[in-house]
């Protein structure tokens, strides 16, 4: 459907869908890598991430898929972390694990690696910027292997993708999106960890920051977060008490590994009987995807974000129709999404 919708939204350059053969080759490669695809809407998809505005439609997962069902906490921070910072991150992650939280991070050097190590016993997930099979940092190969055995590696991008600079911010939104909150341990001003914290705020997640001396440039980012309302964090108890309301009724902690059972995935979009055409599996969206509808929406959009609900009300169309039209416009690069279900022209 995508190429057709994009064309109707008057996108300049065309989108081409992969062929069936290409798709099948990719699925086979994923199988060989002992990875799995988990799609939005499936029970295995992390529930916190599913609620995020631009949740990835598909995740590739290597390792213990059932970890994705547990409540998670992101622990992130500086690559050039101090020895103290690393030790602190590791101990904090271990205690958060004891408290019932799976630790999510980005498998970078420094704080990330320390956090993964601390959480390894009780559950740790690395969200990587490239493919799940690409070990981005040779020094972390041991950690990677441990995570594949005991934890999980998660990626939005396909197998074999070498991560590039532009992939990292997108990856960061997944780290924060999977978690109930983000703990930032040592971060300079304008660092990647602050991007993750920013995403967390936009996604309505808790932000925790570990304070540090004003004389330590690696504390600059954390102190700034504290100044803007992040929860001051000295111990795991600071995090756990803040998240307590959201942890009530959460599955109690247990050792992660048992026998890994591959669960067949009910893919929400399934092939129709014989042909090459794909259609929605659950209900059909009767698109009023015509020029009039596009016109109606475009004329109501400006650079200031507006609520999609408001558009629905003003355009007197069904919510489904507006959603379809917005998707077309988005694919055409003509609208931009904002947190809180807001859209603007671009």
């Amino acid at each position: 459907m995508l190429p057709r919708l994009a064309r109707r939204g008057e996108r300049a350059n065309t989108i081409t869908a992969p062929s069936r053969a290409e798709a099948e080759a990719e699925l086979a490669a994923i199988g060989r890598a002992q990875a799995r695809l988990v799609c939005w809407g499936e029970p295995d998809y992390p529930s916190a991430l599913a609620a995020v505005e631009d949740a990835p439609p598909i995740l590739t997962v290597l390792g213990e898929t059932q970890l994705l069902q547990r409540p998670m906490i992101a622990v992130v921070g500086a690559r050039n972390a101090s020895a103290n910072g690393r030790r602190f991150a590791r101990e904090l992650a271990a205690e958060l694990g004891q408290g019932g939280l799976v630790v999510v991070s980005g498998m970078a050097r420094g704080i990330d690696a320390a956090a993964h190590l601390g959480g390894l016993e009780t559950g740790s997930i690395a969200v990587v910027a490239g493919g799940v099979d690409v070990v981005y940092l040779e020094e972390n190969r041991g950690l990677y292997d441990a995570l594949v055995r005991q934890g999980a590696i998660v990626a939005e991008l396909p197998l074999g993708t070498e991560p590039q600079a532009r992939h990292f911010p997108r990856r960061n939104r997944i780290i924060s999106g999977m978690a109930l909150g983000v703990v930032v341990v040592e971060a300079a001003a304008r660092s990647g960890s602050l991007i993750t914290a920013r995403f967390a705020l936009d996604q309505g997640r808790e932000v925790f920051a570990v304070p540090g001396s004003p004389l330590d440039p690696r504390a600059r980012g954390c102190n700034d977060l504290l100044r803007h309302g992040a929860t001051l964090t000295e111990t795991a108890a600071d995090v756990l008490s803040q998240l307590a309301p959201q942890l009530v009724g959460a599955e109690p902690l247990r050792r992660v590994r048992s026998v890994a059972v591959p669960v067949p995935s009910p893919i929400p979009y399934a092939a129709s009987g014989g042909g090459s055409e794909w259609k929605p599996a659950t209900g059909s969206v009767e698109a009023m995807a015509d020029a009039d509808g596009l016109e109606l929406i475009l004329e109501r959009l400006g650079p200031t974000p507006v609520a999609v609900d408001e558009l629905v009300r003003q355009c007197q169309m069904s919510a489904a129709a507006v959603a379809t039209l917005l998707l077309e416009l988005e694919l055409a690069g003509r609208v931009e999404r904002h947190p809180g279900n807001l859209v603007s022209s671009r």
Copy 2:
């Protein structure tokens, strides 16, 4: 009147008022000490303090009485402060002075002494727990003399009073009461500085706290204040911007004394090798690679790395002596080296 009123109130033990002769003798002594009495309700009485519930009826002032008319900021903190903490307090006090505030503190070791030194050029007031003529801490005699010449010493208790433990909390209420706000730099949990912060809150004054690593016990009190709403303070600008509304219309900054007085060295007095004797630090101090030297260095080290040069300066030892002591401590696994000739505790 007091004895009569107390009797009528059925007070158990009687109050006896001093005789006229005793009062006159005390006034004469105050005159000889070149001090002054300032009473509640007089124009010279600090206006912020006058508004406090249990403001002292009489203050004894030694030094520049007119400093009491200027807007003040209290800078207080740990006695066993780290080298970084002392440097920070001194620089912060100097910048707050440049910003038009007179620095008030308690003339204790560590942060207090550093704050007074930083504020000396632009105006600094010590509120002491005993009499204004009693130098409680022999190592601060140089600072005391400088404050008498360039700043002011203020006391609630009469001339000649030796301060006792119970006097300090009462003194702390005067420190916070004179100031628009209290900045706490390094304070352990349950320390005297937190009592001052507590008074500040009760008196409706601003509380500022300098964050620190959770691994540093000397940051515990400050981080706790931050958790409870104190303003996070990394620079003087954090304080000045918060107090800006109260500083509008305040007297512009001017040099306190027209005659330039030589400013004493950072730590004006240091221990000589022997023990009970003290002498000015300007002379050469023998290397003291003994328990005292180790103590001096350890006390100034925290988890946040500090420059070895700064240690040399603050400990008033030769670079070679400090290097030797650091080597010993490193071999003992008690200090850690960092790039850029920095060291920290471990």
